[in-house]
């Protein structure tokens, strides 16, 4: 009887995911489409480009994360830095790409500032600075977008009162034993933190390998990445071309799964706790993980973090000017004509904000309730066994999910209805919420529960007065992440909603089909607004308790 609850919960989440997968799987068994895919000379090159951009950006993100966390932790500035992360996180991927193009393209601001004065150019030079054939622009854009995401997840760990205190103490201890601050962080804190970030890292990897919108704007074009190729095929009216798109997405998924397994093994092989007290093994493990230089202060003071922040500010500034720009010929530094046209458009579609808000709140809340219930009720073994299954929507390309979710909605007659749409959003949101919660849950010290029980209190007292307050930061940020993910959904909203539910994202994407720079910039701002509000709310709800003011063990409110 005790297992009935978790069993039901597992079914609720697993059945839609399984059904959607089944619908996709049936379409993958198409020999003709596979043959056409292999006969296409673009496939292999596109696949190579995908591997390069996805793996390179993920590796860069990982090293940067280690470096930023190290310098922030050592300088005790992490808390201050992290307060700025939500704004970075809320910047839509496409907006980042547009902003970078505004700076870097041959007609971009970087060159306008020094032309014709220094360069002598009175027309943009024939340089490959955007959509470069080496994918460097895409790697840069991915790097800028994903570092804040991992930082945010790491923050939910490092700012938990119990972990923070423990790690600070251990870090101090390592220094009394003669380690430099960088060594102490690398040998003590990082090895305990890194395995907890394994799944978020896989999400970053999956995103890097399957991203479409960013790759379209700033990625290589000849050939494009495999995800772009699959997406282009899938949006063709011709049936054979479509099925070629499905198998291309399937091939991408296979690649992704292999890459995830390898990366997961590299990062999270050794459990952190066991390593404490085994100095030798610890040193070895840390050394194999990251090159030493990552932790050393190769950058002056807060260099890396300052660079990232500055780039974001530059991108926002470019988007702001872009959104009111009219005619703007090279090499003029400022637009020749200004127009508020784009903002008038944004204002006129304000009602889509309510639809977006409703869907986001509903799906994020449902997923949060489910995740908390699941993590509380399910035996740990179940959670470990089922987790990869629940996280599937995270790693499979969204073009594939849409195929499955939509056919599921059709068979249950839920398409074009609010219920069906919010459930589809929930499937996409669930892995992110779960991902944001699991590390915090795993880190809960089981002795606390025993302690509370030994004091004669029941389970609810433990949950309400000890565990959940400790986890409230993680819970609040999980909800905010879920909300942001719901806001960003385009294809599921279009298909399962039969186009009848206009959200800020569907509005932005359909208008972006006309590719007017001012309009795209303005809509990027609107898309940012809602997630920023959610993250601000989460930060406020999850602000740390002031333990100093409360007498220990007498935690009466």
């Amino acid at each position: 009887m005790k297992l009935l609850g978790p069993l039901l919960l597992a079914l609720i989440a697993a059945v839609p995911i399984g059904a959607a997968l089944w619908a996709v799987g049936a379409q993958l068994l198409d020999a003709q489409a596979w043959h056409a895919l292999w006969a296409d000379p673009q496939t292999l090159r596109a696949w190579g480009m995908t591997m390069w951009t996805g793996l390179a950006s993920t590796a860069l993100v990982w090293f940067t994360l280690a470096h930023v966390l190290a310098s922030g932790f050592i300088r005790q500035q992490l808390g201050r830095w992290l307060s700025r992360v939500p704004a970075l996180l809320a910047t839509p991927h496409a907006a980042m790409a547009i902003g970078l193009v505004l700076w870097l393209s041959p007609s971009g601001w970087a060159l306008r500032l020094v032309s014709p004065g220094l360069t002598g150019f009175d027309a943009p030079p024939p340089w490959f600075t955007t959509q470069d054939p080496w994918g460097l622009g895409l790697i840069l854009a991915l790097w800028l977008k994903e570092v804040p995401f991992l930082l945010w997840v790491a923050a939910t760990q490092m700012q938990r009162e119990d972990l923070r205190r423990r790690w600070q103490a251990e870090y101090a201890l390592a220094q009394t034993l003669g380690r430099t601050p960088a060594q102490a962080f690398a040998h003590i804190v990082w090895p305990q933190l890194a395995p907890r970030l394994r799944w978020p890292l896989l999400a970053v990897l999956a995103y890097g390998l399957t991203v479409v919108d960013m790759a379209l704007i700033i990625g290589p074009a000849t050939p494009p990445t495999l995800a772009v190729l699959a997406w282009q095929r899938l949006s063709d009216a011709d049936l054979l071309t479509q099925s070629q798109g499905v198998v291309a997405a399937g091939w991408l998924t296979g690649t992704l799964l292999v890459a995830c397994v390898v990366t997961g093994w590299l990062v999270g092989a050794a459990p952190s706790r066991r390593m404490l007290g085994h100095g030798k093994r610890l040193k070895l493990a840390a050394a194999t993980r990251l090159p030493k230089a990552v932790f050393l202060s190769v950058w002056p003071s807060n260099g890396m973090w300052t660079t990232i922040l500055t780039t974001y500010i530059a991108v926002w500034f470019a988007l702001t000017v872009g959104s009111v720009s009219g005619v703007w010929p090279f090499p003029q530094v400022w637009p020749e004509l200004w127009t508020l046209n784009a903002w008038q458009q944004v204002a006129s579609s304000a009602r889509t904000v309510w639809t977006t808000l409703g869907l986001g709140v509903a799906s994020a809340s449902v997923c949060l309730l489910w995740s908390v219930a699941w993590l509380e009720l399910a035996p740990r073994r179940w959670q470990q066994a089922m987790q990869p299954w629940f996280l599937l929507p995270l790693v499979l390309p969204s073009v594939l999910w849409v195929v499955g979710l939509y056919s599921l909605a059709l068979h249950t007659r839920l398409e074009g209805q609010w219920l069906g749409l919010s459930l589809a959003h929930a499937v996409m949101v669930l892995p992110y919420v779960l991902l944001a919660l699991v590390p915090a849950y795993q880190a809960v010290d089981p002795r606390q529960a025993a302690l509370v029980a030994s004091l004669g209190h029941g389970r609810w007292v433990y949950l309400w007065r000890v565990k959940w307050p400790l986890l409230k930061r993680a819970i609040a940020s999980a909800w905010a992440v879920g909300f942001a993910v719901s806001v960003a959904q385009y294809l599921p909203t279009l298909y399962v909603g039969a186009g009848r539910f206009a959200t800020v994202t569907t509005e932005a994407v359909t208008l972006a089909a006309g590719a007017q720079r001012s309009l795209m910039s303005a809509y990027a701002a609107l898309q940012m607004l809602l997630p920023i509000a959610a993250f601000a709310l989460a930060a406020w709800l999850g602000r740390p308790r002031r333990f100093e003011k409360i007498a220990p063990m007498k935690a009466t409110p």
Partner: protein, 412 residues
């Protein structure tokens, strides 16, 4: 109506002959599906009252969206129909949705789409897949004003007969635009374009096929270079492709080294080309709407010195349509909307550059004087000054063959 008009003084005998042929074909084909009794229109109007029509239409332009808002207000007032603009970025998505609904066994009134804005390969796919409702176009009272002879593409969509399954809405023709300050001498053919590319290397490009503007550019070059243009109206064969396209590949081989980024890279779409033209990275851009440059000038996104033109011997032209899926719940309402969109008032408003600037499908000369007067408009900066003949699209099957071969040669 000052653009896109098929001039009788066409300089291209090839274009004229083919158009005449098509026109005759269309005129003889018409009665086959145009014989439904017209008396039922009153019934349709009655049934339509109170219906909601979900119109799935590309929404990438604020002008188009505003025009549809106006149409929705008119339809509500005059016919009691609620027109809902379902904003989409690609009609192929809608085709896929209707196909999925059919595969899921949805019956005749159990769909989610009442009307779709469509043409070309999307229409061909829906027609072939049996995804459209019964022929309706000829039953629409306003269909009588459509210029089926002067604009044969109103009945033949990319060489596929419409058979009344879609109702024409507007005209499109491949049009180029450039800033006269930077490009005083406008190329009038693909060969002149090649000469221009040689003199200004890196300043010209076209979107990467299978983007449809890019494919259209290639098709335009094909029509200008093919040894036998008539062969292009027939379904493609390996032999025909080899014979007709050989000069095309020679032309592109010569052109590409002088294009933007050495022809090793191509932009994703025409909007990217337009943006680069506006920024000064390119000297010319292309579009399917002859009034796009005028629109962009009005929106302050292009300087007033930009002008539009079509090649002297003609450029590829086609028509866009509205169609009703087989499972539309509000079929009567959808027909009334299609008829309203064809009305002289709606067509004139659509053709007005200050509103949208989409050329009409009607034969303005045949309209009653009062209706004809609606189509008067003042000239705008950036408009096409001398409209060239509209050349018919090659048969729809050429698209895929050309795109595949293009990708094999230049896309990797």
């Amino acid at each position: 109506m000052h653009f896109n008009k098929t001039t009788t003084a066409a300089t291209s005998s090839v274009g004229l002959n083919r158009r005449q042929t098509l026109g005759v074909l269309a005129a003889t084909a018409m009665p086959a599906w145009a014989q439904t009794p017209a008396s039922s229109w009153a019934e349709t109007l009655r049934a339509a009252r109170g219906q909601t029509v979900y119109f799935n239409a590309w929404a990438g332009s604020e002008r188009i969206n505003a025009y549809l808002q106006w149409a929705a207000a008119e339809l509500q007032r005059d016919f009691g129909i609620q027109l809902q603009h379902v904003k989409i970025s690609d009609a192929a998505d809608v085709v896929k949705r209707v196909r999925a609904e059919k595969q899921a066994g949805r019956k005749d009134t159990e769909g989610t789409v009442d009307l779709i804005w469509i043409n070309g390969e999307n229409f061909a796919a829906m027609k072939q897949g049996g995804l459209l409702s019964a022929p309706f176009a000829a039953n629409l009272p306003n269909f009588q004003w459509v210029d089926a002879v002067g604009k044969p593409t109103t009945l033949v969509d990319f060489s596929v007969p419409t058979d009344g399954l879609e109702s024409p809405w507007g005209m499109a023709q491949l049009t180029f635009f450039a800033d006269a300050k930077r490009l005083p001498q406008l190329p009038q053919s693909m060969n002149e374009l090649l000469a221009l590319a040689r003199s200004q290397p890196g300043r010209i490009t076209y979107p990467r096929p299978p983007n449809f503007h890019g494919t259209t550019f290639v098709k335009q070059a094909l029509i200008e270079h093919a040894p036998d243009v008539k062969a292009l109206a027939q379904p493609v064969t390996a032999a025909a492709l080899e014979a007709q396209a050989a000069p095309l590949w020679r032309f592109l081989d010569a052109l590409h080294p002088h294009l933007w980024r050495g022809g090793k890279q191509f932009p994703q779409n025409s909007a990217a080309v337009r943006q680069m033209m506006a920024d000064g990275e390119l000297v010319m851009a292309l579009t399917f709407n002859p009034n796009e440059a005028a629109n962009e000038i009005a929106a302050k996104r292009l300087p007033a010195t930009v002008q539009s033109w079509q090649f002297a011997k003609g450029t590829i032209g086609n028509t866009h349509f509205v169609a009703i899926p087989y499972n539309a719940p509000s079929k009567a309402g959808a027909q009334v909307v299609a008829n309203f969109l064809l009305s002289p008032a709606a067509q004139a408003r659509k053709a007005d550059i200050d509103v949208w600037g989409d050329p009409t499908v009607l034969d303005v000369a045949r309209l009653p004087a009062a209706e004809r007067a609606r189509f008067q408009s003042t000239p705008h900066a950036g408009q096409v000054s001398h409209s060239a003949p509209a050349l018919p699209e090659p048969h729809a099957s050429w698209v895929d063959a050309l795109e595949k071969e293009w990708t094999r040669r230049y896309g990797v």
